[in-house]
Amino acid sequence: MTEATAGRKIGKERISYRMLKNRLFKWGIIVVSGITILPIVLIFGELLLKGYRQINLNFFTEVTPNTLEAMTAMANNEVIPGGIVNGITGTLLIVGMASVIAIPFGILVGLFLFENQGKRYAAGFIRNLSDILQGVPSIVLGLIAYLWVVKNVTSGYSALAGSVALAIMMLPLIVRSTEETMKMIPETLKEAGLALGAPYYKVILRVMIPTGFSGLLTGILLGISRILGETAPLMLTTLGNPMINWDPSGPTSAVPLLVWDFYNDPNMVDLVWSSSLFLMGFVLTLNLISRRIAAKQNNN
């Protein structure tokens, strides 16, 4: 039958060679994929093992110790006193302000993009800008916030500057998730609202946003989890503070900044583990929650 292939080695041997390669490749894929996720297991495990000891009630209620206290405690083989509450409140303040800036703004722009999908020029341009913004390294955003806020607005390091940097980071994520969520809402719902004579902004507030709520929420949670762990921009904008500070115009601490401080101080190194464990746990939990919400929404 196959004259052209006569004389070639396509007998049984060649086939079993190919099938062997096939099987090996499949197992190779499985092994390498396993290697890929190994780090997350290792990292989390290490943080857990080394950090759990330092986590107690004080961890959440006391401010960071100074280096002398830490040194004394270590010398006496005691648990280092103090906690990271100044970091926790700082993070709350900074992330909170960033969200207040980015969320309404992001939703508005997302709505704009959704509304103007047809008119390619305008929407495309804004969307491209949003994508570019998303790709800007966080440290550059820190520079910008320094130039705009630290130098000109608050004349000094401040929580506000930090939130501006983080807000710019969060913005493109909210824009995109808003646009995507709105696209998934059936057109008929919006039309029904408008047909009832409702002004457009009411249709947005009363129909579209509630319907798309879980999608919007997913985007927000993802955005927050993204900025929670950011250190670099904060180094350039809020500097840090050994005390709890709720004043947006003054230097403030944040959990990732504390991790950095502990890392750099040989006396406080033990605190590195507990604070990172806390940080990572928080970020991952938010991540998983938003994933849960997204999955539930997809199933509907």
Partner: protein, 263 residues
């Protein structure tokens, strides 16, 4: 072979299907129920029936394509020239049994030339250039496509019309000179002129190849097939020479289908 009076048995069939049952999962209803039939060599056999009757499932079982989807439960056997197809590797089997699909699917990243000998390339069979050229030309001539594409062999096939693409896919499956060619509703995505060209082609090809054709168009079966199978909800209701079936169906269900009462 079955004792069903509605089913003719064929002497020395090239393909022998014995008590074949296929279900998409343990305990699921069977898509193909206890089908037995022999396929005549170098003839066109059409499998027809309403949607969901199992004709495509049956067809795909012949070259074991149904195994691509896990959970498939198969009972019964199929023999190619008296060899059980489960005893060959799927690679060998599929070189002897080619397949053409409903929507033309030439590989978009390959040229026309490479598409025709794609089978050899995928199997890692090295050929000398003149051997390759010969196979490509011969296969394309066999599907009456050679004159139309011989000056564009190295271009990608996407500029070809639907009908030409489908003939290219047939040429691709002919490159191995298989014994049997399976076609799964090959003209349902084509316009009437392209359809008629493919049908003429199949009638030419049956002189050298055994053709099994699934079709949802009973007039197509009437036009070109020598033997026809009528399936309904997984059962092989009737099987015999096309002429006999269309003029004098033995089973009432067949008659109802052929007269358009359903399907």
């Amino acid at each position: 072979m079955t004792m069903n009076p509605n089913i003719d048995s064929i002497d020395h069939p090239v393909l022998a299907i014995e008590n074949l049952s296929i279900a998409y999962g343990k305990g699921e209803t069977k898509a193909v129920k206890d089908v037995s039939a022999g396929i005549k060599k170098e003839a066109i056999t059409a499998i027809m029936g309403p949607s969901g009757c199992g004709k495509s499932t049956l067809l795909r079982a012949i070259n074991r394509m149904h195994e691509l989807y896990a959970d498939i439960v198969t009972e019964g056997q199929i023999f190619l020239n008296d060899i059980n197809i489960m005893e060959m590797s799927t690679i060998q089997l599929r070189r002897k049994i080619g397949m053409v699909f409903q929507r033309p699917n030439p590989f978009p990243t390959m040229s026309i030339y490479d598409n025709v000998i794609a089978g050899y390339k995928l199997n890692g069979i090295g050929l000398k250039k003149n051997e390759r050229d010969q196979i490509v030309e011969q296969s394309l001539r066999n599907v009456s496509l050679w004159d139309e594409v011989k000056d564009a062999l190295y271009k990608k096939g996407t500029f070809l019309s639907g009908g030409q693409q489908q003939r290219l896919c047939i040429a691709r499956s002919l490159a191995f000179q298989p014994e049997v060619i399976l076609l799964d509703e090959p003209t349902s995505a084509l316009d009437p002129i392209a359809t008629s060209r493919v049908e003429d082609l199949l009638v030419e090809l049956k002189e050298k190849y055994t053709i099994v054709l699934v079709t949802h168009n009973m007039t197509q079966a009437a036009r070109i097939s020598d033997y026809s199978m009528f399936m309904y909800l997984g059962d092989l209701v009737e099987y015999g020479s096309t002429k006999m079936m269309f003029t004098n169906p033995r089973d009432t269900k067949t008659e109802e289908y052929l007269t358009g009462k359903f399907g």
